[in-house]
Amino acid sequence: MSESLRYIQAVNAALTWALDTRTDTVYFGEDVALPGGPFGATKGLHKRFGSDRIFDTPISETGFLGMALGSAMTGLRPIAEIMYADFSFVAMDQIVNQIATIRYSSGGRWKAPLVIRMQQGYSPGACAQHSHSPEAYFAHTPGLRVALPSTPDDAYQMLRTAVTSDDPVVVAEARMLYPTKGPVRTDAPVEPVGGARVVREGTDATVVAWSRMVPAALAAAGTLAEEGIETEVIDLRWLNPLDFDTVGASVSRTGRLVVAHEANLTGGFGAEIAARAADECFADLRAPVARVATPDVPMPAAPALQKAVVPEAAHVVEAVRRTVRR
C-alpha cells in the first residue's frame, strides 16, 4: 500500500516507524521534541513517544553527536539531528575521528549503529552558512554510510534503512525538496543499504545525479527528449556504499557521462564518479565526462547571484548537449 506524502511527511513517517518498531531507538537534537522540529520532521513524535524516546538538546552538536556514538556503542540506536548540514562542521571531529573510526580501530569490537539526520542545500536568500552540500566530506570518510534521498519514497525507505543499519549513516535530505509530494510505499520491506537506481532509461547519454539534482536531471531529460536526445538518468542515492556497477553498465551503453550535484565543483563527489569512469569505463567513453555543479564560490545570499551559480535542469541540458555533440 502506498500513500501520497510530501518529502518532509515521509521523513516524519519513517521516524514514527523507527520509534514505533524499534524500542532501542532514541531521537535527539535541537527543537525536535516539544517544538516538533523547525521543518516539522518530528511533528507529533514527542506527543506519541514521550521524553524517554525523543528529547531536545542544548546547542551542542559535538556533545550530542558524541552522545549518539557512546549510546550506540552501548546498546541504543540513536538518531541525532543536525538542523542544517552546515552545522555538522562544528561537530566534524565526532563524525570523522570518532563515529567513523571506532569500529575499525577497535578491530570490530564495537559497532556504532546510529543515524545522523540532516538537511542540506541552498534556498533563496540563505547565506553561505546555511547553504552547504557537504556530502563529499562525508563520502571521503571511510566508516560512514552516506544517503541522499531525492524523493518522498526514498526519504522514507532510505531513512528506515539507515536506522536498521548497524553502521553509522549520514542521511542528508534536500531542504528544497521538502514540499514535493509523491507516492510512498509505507508497507514496503526495509531495503538493504546502498543501490543506485535508473530513474529514466536512455541510450544517448548517462546523467548521474543525487539529491535535488535528480528532479533537475529528469526535467532535463524531458527537454532533451524533445530534441531527440535520449538521456538515461541515474539517482545515485547512496554515495557510500557506492554502486558504480549501475553507473558503469549505463555508460557502457551510452558512452557518455554527465555528473550533476549542487555541491561546489572542485573536490565534489562528482569528481569521484568521473574519476571511476575515466578508469573503469575508459574504453566505453565516447566523449569527455562533464560535471554540472555549483562553481567554486561560497553560496551568495542574493537570489540574483544564486541564480548565476546554482545548477538547474538547464545546466544539465546544456552539458548533455555538449557531451552528445562530441
Binding site: P58, G125, Q129, A301, A302
Partner: protein, 311 residues
Amino acid sequence: MGLPDDYRAMARIRRFEERLAALKDDGEIPGSIHLCNGQEAIPVGAARALRDGDHVTATYRGHGWALARGVDMAGLFAEMMGRDSAVNGGRAASPYLSDPSRWFMGENSIVGAGVPIATGAALTAQRTGSGAVSVVTIGDGAMNQGNVHEAINLAAVLDLPLVVVVENNVYSEMSRIEDMVRIRQLAERAAGYGIPGRVVDGNDADAVADALTEAVTRAREGSGPSIVEAMTERLVGHYSGDVQHYRPAGEIASAREREPLARIRAAADAELTARLDAVDAEVEAEVEAAVTAAREVPYPDPATVKEHVYV
C-alpha cells in the same frame, strides 16, 4: 545621552525590524530574518560605552547592533532585499552582514562562532596597543556551544580586551534556557574562567550602559575580558514565520509591558510623551526614506558572482 536619544536609537531599531517584517510579508526579503524586537536596549546601551574603533561582533539577530553602531539603514534594507548594497553587495543578507567602516565585524549564523572571531579583534587591539575593545554579543543558548567556551577562556588567559554580552531572551529558537542549563544565570559561568560576570536588566538602556562601561573600561585598562548577561524577552518569533506555538499564553502580552520602549512611554509625562511622539514621527520618516532608498539599489550583477572569493 539618555532620553530622548536612547529612545530614538531604540525606536529606530524597533521600527526598522517592524518594517523589515512587513517587507518580508510583502515578499521583498528573500531569506529568513531574525528580529530583535524587545531587545533594543542592549545594543543601544552598549553603544554608549563604545567609541570609534571598538569592534562589535554579533549574531543573525544583530540588526539592532548594526544600527546602533551606525551602519547605514538604507544599506541594511538593501542588503536584506538581496540588492547590490554598499554593505555586502547582497552576498550576506540578514544573518551574516558586516561593515568594516563601522568596525562591525559582522553577524554570524553559526551559533557562538562570533566569539572566537571577536577574540581575534581583541588580540589585534592588544598587540597593536590601539586601546580598542572588542564586544561580542550572543544569545543564551549559545553559551552551550564549545566555541564560546574555548574563546572566553582564551581571552581570559591572554587578558584580551573582550566583552561578552549574553542576550538572555529566555529562548533558543523554540527551547527555554531553563531546560538547557542547570544554573540560574549564565553569568555564573564567568567564575569558571576567572573573569567577572554580571547580570543586568537588558530592557533598561541605562543599566546596560553602566554594565558595559564597567566591562569596557576594565578591558581597555588591560584587565581582561568579562561577561555581561542582559535579561530580556523576545516580542516576536525566533525567525520570520515562527508561529510561536511553544510560548505560553500571555507571555508575549506581559513582555510587552516590560519592553524598553513601552517602559519609557509608561513613565512619560505629557510633555515627554509629546516629544517621544515627535521622535516616532521622525523615525518613521527616516525608516520610510531608507526603504525608498534601498529600493533604488539595483540587484547585483550576476556577472560579478565569482568576485571576492579571493583577494
